[in-house]
Symmetry: C2
Subunit: 121 residues, 2 copies
């Protein structure tokens, strides 16, 4: 049987659209998603789950109502369930997002920035 | 409130022991663990869960009964639930392991290579 590695850089080269996470793997019901982010997203929260961000390239700021965290490549942060956050990247940022299958990027509300979920590359 | 990034390199600098994963974060019941691996581990399987490996430095080979996969830095692989595997690193390898809280490194059996689980750094 063939076992193939999932190469993050190769997967990142397969898409250009921003704020539109692409699934590359699943572990149990958890999905690994790659996303390209630039600019400011919108305030949202995920009432039912934590959400992990691992920055691969560029810098990601997660704004909270009570502060912020800046993530450089090789830095991880877990936004806890229910915590409002606004992701922002002053220049293009590549990030690995880890969260349960079915989570949508805008959280509890569907907005014009809601991306299709469960899109695999 | 202070929000702090979890820097993988800084965390890796905090320990030297091999085959002894250290927890750096949790997302729901899922743990992110750093491990330093060198040499050959032992055959085992996790009957109740998948297990994800993301190589950060060095090269990791996962042997299976029906083949193998070699993972370079920036490469991810998910070992599916119940699949026997043997991790091997010909030279020192740093890896991020993602799996549910409570999983032990030797799988279903406790052996002399069973590491304490849920050790945070």
């Amino acid at each position: 049987m063939e076992h193939r590695p999932i190469n993050l850089s190769q997967k990142l080269a397969l898409f250009c659209d921003q704020w539109s996470p692409k699934v590359i793997a699943e572990m149990n019901e958890i999905q690994f998603k790659l996303a390209k982010l630039e600019g400011e997203f919108e305030w949202h929260r995920h009432a039912g789950t934590d959400e992990a961000f691992l920055v691969l390239d560029g810098e990601l700021t997660l704004e909270f109502r009570d502060g912020r965290v800046k993530l450089a490549p090789g830095e991880l942060y877990v936004v806890k369930k229910g915590v409002e956050h606004l992701p922002r990247a002053d220049s293009l940022c590549h990030v690995l997002v880890i969260e349960p299958r079915g989570v949508i990027n805008t959280g509890e509300e569907v907005t014009e920035r809601t991306a299709e979920s469960d899109v695999w590359i």
